[in-house]
Amino acid sequence: MKAGEVKAKELRTRLFKEEDILTLPKLYRDNWRKWGKQVAMRQKDYGIWNEYTWNSCYEKTRYFCLGIISMGLEPGGIVCFIGDNEPEMYWAMFGIWAARGIVVGCWTTSLPHEIKFILDHSEAKFMIARDQEQVDKMLSLKEELRHVKKVIWWEPKGMRDYTDPWLMSFDEVVELGREYEPGHSALFDDGIDQAKPDEVFMMAYTSGTTGLPKGLERTHKSILAALRQVISLFPVSNEDNTIPYLPPAWFAEPIVGSGIHMTTGMALNFIESPDTIAIDMREIAPSWMLFIPREWESIGSTIQVRVNDAGFLKRTTFNLFQPVGFRIADLATEQKTPNLFWRTLNAMARGVAFRPVLDKVGLWGARWGVTAGYTMGERTFRFWKAIGIDMRQVFGASEQGLISGHMQGDIRTNSVGTLLEEAAVRIDDSGELLINSPAMFTKYHKNPKLTKEAFEGCWFHTGDACSLDDGGHLYFMDRASELGELRSGLKFSPQYIEAQLRFGAYISDAMAVGDKEKDYVSAIINIDFDSVGKWAERNHIPYTTLVDLSQKEEVSELVVKDVIRINRILPEHARIKKFAVFHKAFDPDEAELTRSMKLRRGFMGQKYTDLVESIYAGKWELLVEAPVTYRDGRKGMTSAALKIRSVEGK
């Protein structure tokens, strides 16, 4: 066993043994004592990776903590934040936790009224907002907010002329902490010592696939139970590196970012800007990457497009070796060991074809690829396994923490893994999954009625339709409410079909349609503007805009090929018979996607009823007018004549 794995095992034992004492800040303090001079964080700035040791991080955390206490943060007080993953935000979070405060995140793309809802509902006293853009949103709400005492920002660009005393910079808070220290220096350690594991330390507002956001409360005990589960699947230690890039407002963030850093000491590496993630990932070569299937799909199709665009030699090499990878991946899935011949070929394939490709996308050092959120399409899974990523599906949700995951050597591509040690599950008669686990959320913030409805004794209704097989593997079909049913009574999973469609090199997004009044499944498809655009250029097809390009006859031909290929792996009744290529991208600003980029199916169905009805009414063309919201909040209309196409040809 490697040194890192031993450390992970020891930590896990400790988390079990000292369950009734440990909190995140306690572990953080222990780690600081152990690793003071080692690197805890790196941040790329001005094109250079700057290092922060545990000592320097701890100092910032400590002074921020004292600073915010001096401004009146009390144990149990709530602090809201909005911003990208940057060290300042983590130091602030750690400091707030040390002060026994509770943090709650907003999405950076949230509109002011969405932020207001969270601030009002949580009664947060402080707001930590990254930059001018977010501060402007706060200033626009200033008159309406009753609870917020201070807004703390950390990115100085453009902030020079902001003199409102309501605002304060991160550095000023740290400075305040320094001034406050004499006479109050024990407050920091006292806070850490006094905190109890069953205190709430964070809240997350669910992304609102269903109705208004609900605030989930989470205790130290529950996060540490979740982290225990994570290190049982992925034994990471302070020798590992990760890029914390999950939106901090997301419930899963502590599991792969802040929390895992505070417990295992895994170093956090902050990218320069969201646009540079590809380059930065390549330079760091993180030990694992967690993406939702959609993102794995998109990197996968990028690789395929790049391979197709590459020169003859590179293209041929990759295509020659890819079947070797597939063969090895399939054998691994069947739990068979490849013979020497295949092993040799695979070693060659990795050296010559796969590793260089993985290096380009920054996955060279990835010991695991992790995917969560929903089930990854089988083709995507096989693709990644083939080029040498140890892809693991984990399954969990905002409310319940982790439930299952792929264990070493026991991987089935279409399952979401075997049940984790501490998660007890039950499937009721309707096929809905019930769960009881220490990693679950404790209750909904200020909503006992909802909490009561969600629990049946200690069992939580997940709302997910799942099945279990004899090998202990769990299979996720869909949200119980989201399974589609056709006139024939046969059920199908729209999400599964969409995941398959999205993996097509020229498709970026899709919505599968079908209900009790419909005889067959159809789809509304978004083309990938970049790859289709490139393809059009190569084939000398002139176009002006996305709208124009999306309705080209040639593009329709291109998409139909993908659809036919996907139909082959779908059950007969769930195959796509007709589709329309949509003229614009699905957009969270128009509420077509949630902020975590999940399709809002019900809403879309209503919004585009005309289109859906036309598909089933046998029309071949429809003039669609869609409202669009520009970035600055202005509204406009786009209109386009959408062509509807049958998969078998007209």
């Binding site: 001005y46 646009d275 540079t276």
Partner: protein, 260 residues
């Protein structure tokens, strides 16, 4: 206004043969304002910038910058005094990367050339240190203009709006005391225009330097300029705040025709 004029133009006239490009222009740029110069096509806006930067020699009049006469100086000396500009048609080195384009603008501040070719030719020593020093300035600009992801891309491959941004970056690399922008938004889409407007305001706020903005897009001009000067056929026909300019009958006539 009591603020001292940074740039003062008095009685400036420029003609090409019988064509009077600029006739008796009198204007000044003050403190840290954003001054817009507007006017129909061919009204002499770019000629004005070319006179200020020394590309054209005006027949009459004088231009002084920080109290110093610059009318007869060659362009490179004017640049050294602290006047930088961007171009209407982008004039970048298309074969170089973004970083190299910005570093090229730092040429003016490199000493190792003056210290003799050997210092600049050897990797270690003063040449090396100097390069690091200038790279810092360049990275600061890259950060400011949010072009991190384009840092090592060849400029010729960048989209148009991005090239305009690099062009602005190069002007900033000269650490100017006065910035002249020649139609920074020409040919941009709405989103790119909004970004550029944001950057111009940021430059004005963060660097605290005056900016002369030659621009066609009236919406942008009205939004970000503090003062506007209007040209028509080489004549300066109006000067004032955006509100005054909107009401000025001479401006309305030049833009909308005699009846309006």
């Amino acid at each position: 206004m009591s603020e001292r004029a940074k740039l003062k133009i008095e009685g400036l006239s420029l003609s090409f043969g019988d064509l009077h490009a600029l006739v008796d222009i009198n204007m000044e740029v003050r403190g840290r304002e954003v001054l817009a110069v507007i006017g129909p096509n061919g009204s002499g806006k770019t000629c004005l910038l070319n006179c200020i930067t020394g590309f054209y020699r005006p027949q009459k009049g004088r231009i002084s910058f920080d109290g110093q006469q610059v009318t007869k100086l060659p362009p490179h000396k004017i640049t050294k005094l602290g006047i930088a500009r961007t171009f209407q048609g982008i004039e970048l080195f298309t074969g170089l990367s973004t970083v190299d384009n910005l570093l090229a603008a730092r040429h003016l501040f490199f000493n190792s050339v003056a210290m003799g070719a050997p210092a600049g030719a050897i990797y270690f020593g003063p040449g090396h240190n100097e390069e690091i020093r200038h790279r810092k300035v360049v990275e600061d600009i890259i950060n400011f203009l949010e072009i991190e992801s384009e840092r090592h891309k060849v400029v010729g491959m960048l989209p148009y709006g991005m090239r305009k941004r690099v062009d602005l970056g190069r002007a900033l690399a000269l650490e100017p005391k006065l910035l002249l922008l020649d139609e920074p938004m020409a040919g941009m889409n709405l989103e790119e225009k909004e970004d550029m407007a944001r950057f111009i305001l940021d430059v004005s706020e963060e660097r605290r330097i005056p900016i002369v903005l030659v621009e066609h897009d009236m919406g942008v001009v009205m939004d970000i300029a503090q003062r506007i000067v209007v040209f028509d056929f080489g004549h300066q026909i109006a000067e004032g705040t955006p509100v005054e300019i909107k009401r000025n009958p001479a401006v309305v006539k030049a833009y909308l025709g005699a009846e309006a």
